[in-house]
Amino acid sequence: MVQAEIQEFLSYVISQLIDHPEEMVLESSKGEGRRTIYKLRLRQSDVGKVIGKQGCTIAALRSLLSVAAERSGEKAVLEIIEDGSPR
């Protein structure tokens, strides 16, 4: 339930920050322990918009992600996948 809400939160915020939301792919998978990894793929020109100046935007997203996950004693990680590698 929390995982679905977090995914919806990320999708809601990120889709409004970028120019090509139709190309956004957001997937989640269970990692070790109670960790969920959210993997985000975007058009290259949108990556900077999600990262933000000095990484402020992605830092805020990751921080809020943790707040939401902690509610159910879980951990959450957001990765931007570029050329097959996480960032």
Binding site: E5, C56, L61, R71
Partner: protein, 158 residues
Amino acid sequence: MNTSSNPRDILDSMLVLLGFVCEVKAFPTNRGLTLQVYTADKDRLLARSGAVVDDLQLLVNRILQARDKEAPRVQVDVEHWREMQDDSLVQKVRRLAESVRMTGLPIQLEPMNGYERRIVHNAFKEDPDVVSWSPPDDARLKRITLRKRSDGGKASET
């Protein structure tokens, strides 16, 4: 999901998805629009010394600016907590400014983020004796210097 361009609706949607049961009210203030959040889960929202509120504020503003580059900034507050924090910051720096006024010696303040720096610069905008200055680089946290105003001295609002 609602994709309204109303700042109140954007914040409300984010909070609901983050699991907060709350009410968001919008108030116009002299610094623009303030969104006050009322919730029984106040402690969780004010965790990390207000960093959660700062993150919400940053994202709401980023969404608004993504739609309109000239969109006025909005402030996010939780039951007037930020308002009280801002007032106490202004009182603290005004006390420090008294020493600058008396001795003429500059004082460097603790590192502050852009939001806090704006509050300090605003507090000294009209001050006849003391001027606030921060280095014109891109660092997120900067230390403001309070110094005696010389002729033509101008504050650097960065």
